[in-house]
Amino acid sequence: MFKKVLVANRGEIALRVIRACKELGIRTVAIHSEADAASLHVRAADEKVCVGPPDAALSYRNIPNVLSAAEVTGVDAIHPGYGFLSENAHFAEVCESIGVKFIGPTSENIAMMGDKAKAREVVSRRGLPVTPGSLGELRSEEDAMQAAQKIGFPVIIKATAGGGGRGMRVVNKAEDLGRAFQAAQAEAKSTFGNENVYLERYFLEPRHIEVQVMADHRGHVIHLGERDCSIQRRHQKLVEETPSPAIDEKLRREIGRVAVEAVKAVHYRNVGTVEFLLDKERNFFFMEVNTRIQVEHPITEMVTGIDLIKEQIRLAAGHPLSIRQQDVVLNGHSMECRINAEDPEKFTPSPGQITKYSAPGGFGVRVDSAMESGATVVPYYDSMIAKLITHGRDRQEAMARMRRALDEFVIEGIKTTIPLHRRIFNDPEFQKGHISTAFLEQLLAR
């Protein structure tokens, strides 16, 4: 097992990783920008290294400085968290080249899955269901038209290097395709430095379903059930839950099998997430693989009892999977609210000092956060400041706990999305589990 791990991240996920390391008896090194010198994740670690100014490109994403920090502190491994360098194949590669273990999949895994069109192609070749559309990138408008007419409108054009909703265009009819293709290419190029795009059928009100997988160095792969992440605003998830209200035991086995097959197809290692789209007829289609720990991993931990961060570390250290598929039991129901430092109506960021912070407690309530009274939410990074997670014997109980916990959560000095979360959890349609990726926009429009 590793003796010392550098945590190449900040905020709640850095603290999450540090906690896991502590429980495993591993020493930790925190890195931080000048803006985060006083952060909880820095104080929680055994050692700390300032790696740059507030701008993440010059600090948390600064590969030379991060690797130098790893070098001068003599760590065995680096945990990248999510975001920042976590899906940077080059970074993973350089880590390996200097003898520091990258806690995550191989750089090849990251590179291949980072090309969304390529990933679709590989998975499709294994006979697994992908969203109907082009395989590989579109070379021309004619290519696009051919693919679109084959699957029928509406279609969505996406950047192969994409993510977060950028470089996407929905096209409802053939005459709009040409202009949308050009626009998507241009946006893909300016955003990702790569103009390649592909095209899929556009589903109305689908669910976003993802399956947690784990793979060891022997090629054993298991899945830990699905997460329903349909509550999104502009492709940003706000609420997640497991199990999905739309998935029964039979469908779970099937979608789990496909997820395992998909990552086996690319010799995937460590922990990952396979994203699917579930339509109203409960057909599911492979979308992509996220080659990192997900923000919403805690809900899977709550129902399986498996510490995913510890598994990541153990797997990276060469240990085999600690559990077999048949021993994975899903207990009860878990939900997560991402609490952002944002105006709950206008969604404008609300950085500033937290004058009072008091997290909810008691049975079935978990809070993952690096905030505290007196802490400052700096404007340079992601606005998520806390994850509020509840667990219950069933969805009803998990929801009741969430409402209770949202009422107890005190964060003063800045605005947060807590009022929006309350609104979601008080909505009768949400309570019935009638959700889709269109849910939140519909709720906000009411």
């Binding site: 000048e34 104080r43 055994d46 050692e47 300032c50 600064n62 030379p64 007196g374 400052t376």
Partner: protein
């Protein structure tokens, strides 16, 4: 900064001059407790507020003043570190990373490390140090090396002046922003 030196050995990053810390101790306290206590304490409080200090302690000729500002603070680290005694917080290096020492550094220029790495005062173990305390240096003159990822990064002086103090120890790690040299740009000759 980092982009420029990413792949080029012997790249010479320009030193960053940190502005002196806002409202450090030592401002305007001389006249204390001579005439109206109230007035002076109000001054201290104003000072505290203007500077968002968490604590201000001064002892002078048997007079000791301590001002503390607990929660509503900008510089969280001091108070927060006091209040979490159970979490250890050693640093990579012994000296503070983020600023000049407590002595009077008015008008001084601090050369800080623009990268994370290992500090060397000489180009090789056998060679003489680039500079010693008291030396007169020119703008652009190499002061030291910070090694990072097997690359030797020469750090240059960004001003003419005299080396007042060398703030890092050779062969020890330095983080981003670590103060390396204190230079007096207007030395009294």
């Amino acid at each position: 900064m980092s982009a420029r030196r990413r792949s080029i050995p012997k790249k010479k990053p320009r030193p960053i001059i940190l502005p002196s810390m806002p409202g450090g101790p030592g401002q305007g306290q001389d006249a204390l407790l001579t005439s109206s206590q109230t007035k002076q304490i109000q001054d201290l409080i104003d000072l505290l507020r203007r500077n968002n200090l968490t604590e201000l302690e001064l002892e002078r000729q048997g007079v000791r003043i301590r001002v503390r500002h607990e929660i509503g603070i900008k510089s969280v680290s001091a108070s927060v570190q006091e209040t979490v005694p159970n979490i250890s917080q050693p640093s990579v290096h012994p000296t503070s990373a983020s600023g000049p020492p407590a002595e009077d550094t008015t008008g001084m220029v601090t050369i800080t490390s623009p990268i994370v790495g290992t500090f060397y005062r000489s180009p090789s173990p056998d060679a003489d140090p680039y500079v010693e305390e008291g030396d007169i240096v020119k703008k652009g003159q190499v002061l030291c090396i910070v090694e990072a990822m097997k690359l030797m990064n020469e750090i240059e002086s960004e001003t003419d002046g005299r080396i007042v103090k060398i703030l890092a120890e050779s062969t020890k790690p330095v983080e981003y922003g670590h103060a390396l040299f204190l230079i007096d740009p207007n030395p009294v000759q």
